[in-house]
């Protein structure tokens, strides 16, 4: 928890820049400003797996010496050059920014910190200044006056601090007249930093786990099965019905993949139970998998190679099990990867048995997933609802006054906005939107993705979470909202400290947790409690 109270934090905010030019300000590398670097054995393991990482070592960012390889300047220069040749986006974003400042106050980190280097334009300038020096004529000649500078260790340190203080949420991009996407710049900066060994463990350890065990959390298959059994027991306790939970079974039509965060802890597990209940209700011909037990893809935060490697498992497993299409659970960056990268990166390993997804219950053809063969669970459920296939007792969510948090990735990298809302409204009576400047495509980040979901930088997270927190506090005050629902497993983890700090009393839930509560299962007993085993409205005394 932050050292400061929210009021104090707000009082201390100053959006006016300092008098010193940003180029003359060194980044603050003291503890609290960075997440722990990747452990050497993890970096080594990933290098062994063929991923473009380097320089495994013990190092501490607050030390003077970051133990960089001696030729680090050349490596960065070379890597930069390579990426300019590989991505038009990078080249363009380096050249066309007019520094109009339209993006300046759009970043949650700037709003919560007032640090000018958190203005997206300046964050990108940290890299552009090097680009100008290294790759443009004017920058070579006029230097500081035209905003170019020489790559020094201090610049690299600044990159490390500020490019890991970007959640790649793309809110800035929405407002930029040229669509300059600072998230894209951040991705490139991180790829470059990986080449000289600057990385953070909160990203790399999940990557390594995901590669070996199938999921970020390193849950081994037998443990995964235990978790599922445990959930099946809990569901039985709440509903009186023992649901089916197929795992690693070949020969089913659908493979279901969700982020492993849902299997791990409160409140993700309730969403997990929601899926199980829904699929049992439908008697869906499907299976879960332990090998592909992760939807989330921390490759997005690492490098395109890593992203590709982790994502490929989904198709590999669908092929192995003979599934026709994949249903994907509630996850933010998993869906950005699926929507923007999956087919382009891994389309060729899709097996011939895979077909354009068709909802087996309603017959709806998901044409918008014709290439990836992958459907979002809220698209699937919304379709069922529209066709009247689900029987809900909405009153079982009456103890919840709900608002919805659009996760940045599906919102601005996909456009999944109405589907979850349709689902929530169908299974709950009390739904309220947060202010319009903070939802849908203008949504604010949970401030925890991109490797910030870690306690050592809790202060930064809470600051970055301020715009979301304030919007939440607003509906809490106005409509008595007590539940923040979302379709992202990272959100389900990161929004909790955020709401405890900015809007205490609000619980975080997934959308399919609400579905699981409201769905009337055949043969169920009277429900007195929800999936959290908290009493339903009217049954407060019985539980």
């Amino acid at each position: 928890m932050a050292k400061m109270k929210p009021e104090e934090l707000i009082k201390g905010l100053d959006y006016n820049p300092p008098s010193t030019s940003w180029m003359d300000l060194k980044a603050d590398t003291s503890a609290g400003n960075w997440a722990y670097p990747g452990k050497p054995e993890i970096v080594k393991y990933l290098i062994g797996e063929g991923l473009p990482l380097a320089n495994p070592r013990e190092w501490v960012p607050s030390d003077e010496d970051w133990k960089l390889p001696p030729n680090w300047r050349d490596i960065i220069h070379q890597g930069f050059h390579e990426r300019l040749e590989k991505y038009r986006s990078l080249k363009l974003f380096m050249d066309v920014c007019v520094r109009c400042g339209a993006c300046a106050d759009k970043c949650h980190y700037f709003i919560g910190s007032g640090d000018p280097k958190n203005m997206p334009v300046l964050r990108a300038e940290l890299m552009r200044s090097i680009y100008r020096k290294d790759f443009t004529l004017a920058g070579k000649i006029l230097t500081k006056l035209t905003g170019s500078r020489v790559m020094e260790e201090d610049v690299l340190k600044e990159w490390f601090i500020y490019f890991y203080q970007c959640t790649e949420c793309r809110r800035c991009s929405l407002f930029c007249p040229y669509g300059i996407d600072t998230a894209e710049v951040t991705m490139m900066a991180r790829e470059l930093m990986h080449l000289v060994g600057l990385n953070i463990n909160w990203i790399l350890e999940p990557v390594a786990n995901c590669n070996r065990t199938g999921n970020h959390l390193g849950i081994q298959p037998q443990a995964f099965k235990d978790i599922m059994d445990f959930m099946v027991d809990d569901i039985e306790e709440v509903t009186g019905v023992r649901v089916k939970a197929p795992l690693n079974e070949p020969g089913h039509e659908i493979l279901f993949i969700t982020p492993s965060g849902d299997a791990f802890a409160d409140p993700g597990i309730f969403t997990f139970m929601g899926y199980l209940i829904l699929f049992h209700y439908l008697d869906l011909d499907y299976t879960w998998s332990t090998y592909a037990s992760e939807g989330g893809n921390f490759g997005l935060f690492t490098s395109s190679e890593t992203m590709k490697k982790l994502n490929a498992k989904m198709y590999a497993e669908a092929n192995r099990l003979g599934c026709k299409w994949i249903l994907g659970g509630e996850c933010g960056h998993m869906w950005r990867v699926i929507n923007q990268y999956m087919d382009t990166m891994n389309g060729e390993i899709q097996g011939p048995q895979m077909t354009t997804p068709v909802n087996p219950i309603t017959g709806t053809v998901f044409k918008n997933a014709a290439a990836t063969k992958m459907v979002h669970i809220t698209e699937f459920t919304a379709d069922l609802i529209k066709h009247g296939k689900l029987k809900f007792d909405k009153s079982r969510n009456d103890h919840r006054r709900i608002t919805f948090h659009d996760s940045c990735n599906p919102a601005r990298g996909m456009g999944l906005l109405d589907e979850p809302r349709e689902v929530i409204k169908a299974c709950a009576n009390h739904f309220f939107e947060m202010p319009s400047n903070t939802i849908r495509e203008m949504t604010y980040c949970c401030a925890g993705g991109s490797g910030l979901n870690t306690d050592e930088i809790m202060d930064i997270r809470l600051r970055g979470g301020m715009p979301r927190g304030k919007a939440l506090a607003h509906v809490q005050e106005k409509h008595d909202v007590n539940t923040l629902s979302c379709v992202c497993a990272i959100d389900r983890a990161t929004l909790i400290p955020l709401s405890n700090y900015w809007a205490p009393g609000v619980q975080v839930s997934g959308v399919h947790e609400l579905v699981g509560n409201a769905l009337i299962l055949e043969g169920e007993h009277e429900r007195t409690m929800d999936l959290r085993q908290e009493p339903l409205k009217g049954f407060e005394d019985e539980v």
Partner: protein, 340 residues
């Protein structure tokens, strides 16, 4: 400070033709050599820059989606902000290029430290200033085509007529002149006024604004105050575009013309190598000019690296016995880890 440097620099640029023509009488040089070279550099530079950008591929479709995706038939897609077809994307681009749509969204964050309320005010000023400026500039530039065409096409005369419709003064006042000066000044004032924008501004941000202001003011001075001989100017400009340089009436044109032309030439040369290339770049931005259809259609990444997932076989080798014990299917019996 940076703004001051830029201002000084623009003054120096004004001095060059003042001295060059006023004292050294290099009319031919300033009226013919300089602008011709500038135009060549501009054209070549522009093409080079576009070529340089397009040489790098767009491996992934990364549109920023500003609204509802194409999904179930009964969910209304936001076709212009989240296009899934070429035609829809074209509309998005039209709106972007001609109406500055993304900028129109602009808001301003307002934090009330007393109440702790975080509010969002509409902030369309930047959009308005930018629209004024760009349209002013555009009309002025197109109107100038009258000097380079003979006979003057209908379109240019009509534009000129519309532009001067207010019928104020002699010579008639052009609205676009006002728009341009107002737009560029407002943008400049905004840059100097807003501490945050000042903080991010570079020499290369002030310089083009001041240069364009200089161009506009010198043009206005020529037309409304010095009242230069337009017939002579047209003779010179037509000589320029037809490459007939003999007997051009250089001496009949006042020196303000040379200042104007020199500043324009500077702008032309500067253009392709600066942020002004956003003119070309806006068309190429992959977050705006691509449909959001990579779940629908296959796209090829020209450098797609050959990377394979950690295989299931390796996974089963690793965890087979535990899986078997837990009752999970294990494909290869050798991985079951049973004794005997």
């Amino acid at each position: 400070m940076t703004a001051m440097y830029s201002l000084v620099f623009v003054f120096l640029l004004v001095l060059i033709p003042l001295l060059g023509v006023g004292s050294a009488h290099l009319e031919f040089f300033f009226a013919v050599c300089v602008p011709t070279t500038a135009i060549i550099i501009f054209l070549a530079g522009f093409v080079y820059k576009i070529f340089k950008w397009t040489r790098s591929p767009v491996p992934f479709r990364i549109p920023t989606t500003g609204g509802q995706q194409q999904s179930l038939s009964w969910i209304k897609q936001n076709k212009w902000d989240n296009p899934s077809t070429g035609a829809q994307t074209f509309m998005r681009m039209l709106l972007e290029v001609f109406a500055f749509r993304s900028l129109f969204r602009n808001t301003k964050v307002q934090l009330n430290k007393e109440t702790g309320v975080l509010g969002y005010a509409s902030a369309k000023w930047l959009w308005l200033f930018a629209i004024l400026f760009h349209y002013g500039f555009f009309i002025v530039a197109v109107r100038h085509m009258r000097l380079f065409t003979d006979p003057v096409p209908f379109f240019f005369t009509a534009l000129e007529f519309g532009d001067g419709i207010l019928q104020v003064g002699v010579p008639r006042l052009y609205l676009s002149d006002l728009l341009l000066v107002a737009g560029v000044s407002l943008l400049l004032v905004r840059r100097l006024w807003d501490a945050r924008i000042r903080y991010i501004s570079l020499f290369t941000d002030y310089f083009p604004l001041l240069l364009i202001l200089g161009i506009a003011l010198s043009g206005i001075y020529m037309r409304y105050f010095a009242k230069v001989d337009v017939v002579a100017i047209k003779a010179v400009t037509m000589g320029l575009v037809t490459f007939h340089y003999a007997d051009l009436p250089f001496a009949q044109i006042g020196i303000s013309f040379y200042v104007h032309v020199f500043l324009v030439s500077t702008l032309l040369v500067y253009f392709p190598f600066s942020k002004l290339m956003h003119l070309g770049g806006v068309f190429l931005s992959p977050t705006r000019n691509l449909p959001n259809d990579s779940r629908i259609k296959h796209h090829e990444n020209p450098w797609n690296p050959a990377i394979k997932p950690h295989s299931y076989e390796a996974y089963e080798k690793d965890f087979g016995p535990a899986m078997h014990e837990a009752g999970l299917p294990v494909v290869d019996p050798a991985n079951r880890g049973e004794e005997g």
